[in-house]
């Protein structure tokens, strides 16, 4: 069932051509805007990928809300519905990340190129469940999109050394960008990966709890058999 949901979700999203075009264009616009500064360009590219994937996840989950409720009522597990849709979104996100990794490899001479792949991948793995959490807590497109805008805009302008930046979901992206671009030690790598692991776990856990709470149908007892009248 998991793969049926993932495949269906992939086809459904794949047919929204205009939305997909914008998903591809957003990180490119961010990258092009800062292409003269390598570190900034890669960080903004990664945040663009994260923002695009989170928004795609938000709209995908909000759009499927009624259908998922119907499927849950007739016996599909809310966990399978969440994981199936997340598999499709992560697959698309990783394909997008792979494309932009190729672009960076072609256009920049990066100190540790493999770390760029790592930071794009971790960003996608945070963004997909983040979009799901927002969609399940704020189940309307406008409110959800504004919430994501607030998170991502704050992420871009917050002082990376400050406490606020560390509470935001993509702080790891900034740390891993520093590791990829600058001649710094491995503490940037480990700090980034630790932050990623915590945020990914929190987002996935929150998305799962919200999905179960919102989609799980009422447990109704079977009708009592009637007594036989002799």
């Amino acid at each position: 069932m998991l793969w049926t949901i993932a495949g269906t979700s992939l086809r459904e999203t794949g047919r929204r051509r205009a939305a997909l075009l914008l998903v591809v264009a957003l990180p490119l616009a961010f990258y092009a805007a800062r292409s003269d500064m390598q570190g900034q360009a890669i960080r903004f590219l990664a945040i663009g990928v994260g923002w695009a994937v989170a928004t795609l996840a938000l709209f995908s989950h909000v759009g499927a809300r009624h259908l998922d409720r119907r499927l849950a009522v007739v016996g599909t597990s809310p966990t399978a519905l969440l994981i199936g849709r997340q598999l499709a979104l992560i697959g698309m996100g990783l394909a997008l990340a792979a494309g932009y990794f190729g672009l960076v490899a072609l256009t920049q001479d990066v100190n540790r190129l493999w770390a760029v792949g790592l930071l794009l991948g971790t960003t996608v793995l945070i963004a997909a469940p983040l979009g799901a959490v927002v969609s399940l807590v704020l189940p309307r497109e406008l409110e959800g999109a504004l919430a994501l805008l607030a998170v991502m805009a704050t992420q871009m302008i917050a002082d990376p050394e400050g406490a606020l930046a560390k509470t935001l979901p993509l702080w790891s992206t900034r740390e891993l960008t520093g590791y990829a671009v600058d001649p710094v030690g491995s503490e940037y790598l480990w700090d980034g990966l630790a932050h990623f692991a915590v945020v990914a776990l929190v987002c996935a856990g929150a998305a799962w709890i919200a999905a179960v709470v919102r989609l799980r149908p009422q447990a109704l007892p079977e009708p009592e058999p009637e007594p036989v009248v002799l």
């Binding site: 086809r11 459904e12 999203t13 047919r15 009624h66 259908l67 499927l71 149908p217 109704l220 009708p223």
Partner: protein, 272 residues
């Protein structure tokens, strides 16, 4: 002009759920009849669309394995069901017992809580008080948002078939057969958003009966239907009933209630 009528007739038959081979055979028959009568087909049979609608109705496959009617065990029992949204009471003390092999119609004015009651029966919403008992194997066709706009009919069949443990091929074959019973043949590559409102509603209904459930819950399932489709739907409802399913239909049309087993009339809070 004559050829055009026959081609149009065959195409309309297919669109109304007749198998393509059968449609070709029927078109050839009508051509032979027109030739034998020495009249243009439009003069002999009338407009192709109207003639195709009548012939398609007669040529449709029988519903799956209709069985002699027998009332079975209780599939849904509501006892004193009440629903409140904050201080607004939507349902008060609703009682109903529905058995396998019976049809119940839920009627009432707009805002009387019909859809809320169906959601409670499905388990999508919780009753504030009272007891809801129902069988586990249900089919559920909500009034709105029951389908995904960017999926084709076959993809819907595979998805819902998967939910019921059916293989993809069997789910598509069953869905296509049930769709034909409602006078519709799904076209490959056409997503739900491209279907008319009535056809989308047929898809919604087919998804609710895909796995031959013990209890079928339908919320105003005929919206957007033409007259033929409306009659087909009620034929389907009675076929499910005769095959041993319990059917609960939310409706605001009162002229089909003489054949149902139970009529549950809900009154809005302002009418109580």
């Amino acid at each position: 002009m004559t050829d055009q009528w026959h081609e149009s007739f065959a195409r309309l038959l297919v669109e109304r759920g007749v198998a393509p081979g059968e449609a070709r055979r029927l078109a050839a028959d009508s051509r032979d009849e027109a030739r034998a009568a020495g009249l243009p087909p439009a003069e002999l049979f009338g407009p192709a669309a109207a003639y195709a609608a009548g012939i398609a109705r007669a040529a449709r496959p029988a519903p799956l394995a209709a069985l002699p009617r027998a009332r079975g065990p209780v599939v849904l029992r509501l006892t004193g069901v009440t629903k409140r949204y904050r201080r607004r009471e939507v349902l008060r003390g609703v009682d109903l017992t529905l058995r396998a092999g019976e049809v119940a119609a839920v009627v009432g004015a707009n805002g009387s809580g019909k859809s809320t009651l169906l959601d409670i029966c499905a388990g999508a919403s919780k009753a504030t008080s009272g007891l809801v008992e129902r069988t586990a194997r249900i089919g559920y066709a909500p009034q709105q948002h029951g389908t995904a706009p960017y999926l084709t009919a076959d993809e819907h069949f595979r998805l819902f078939g998967g939910a019921h443990g059916m293989g993809a091929k069997r789910a598509v074959a069953t869905g296509t057969h049930l769709a034909a019973g409602l006078g519709w043949r799904p076209r490959a590559g056409t997503v739900a958003a491209q279907l008319s409102g009535g056809t989308r509603q047929k898809l919604n209904v087919v998804l609710g009966e895909l796995h031959r459930p013990d209890l079928i819950l339908l919320d105003e399932p005929y919206q957007g239907f033409d007259q033929d489709s409306y009659l087909d739907l009620w034929s389907q409802v009675y076929a499910w009933r005769d095959a041993g399913a319990g059917v609960l239909v939310v409706t605001h049309l009162l002229h089909d209630l003489d054949r149902v087993d139970h009529v549950l009339e809900l009154k809005g809070a302002e009418d109580r």
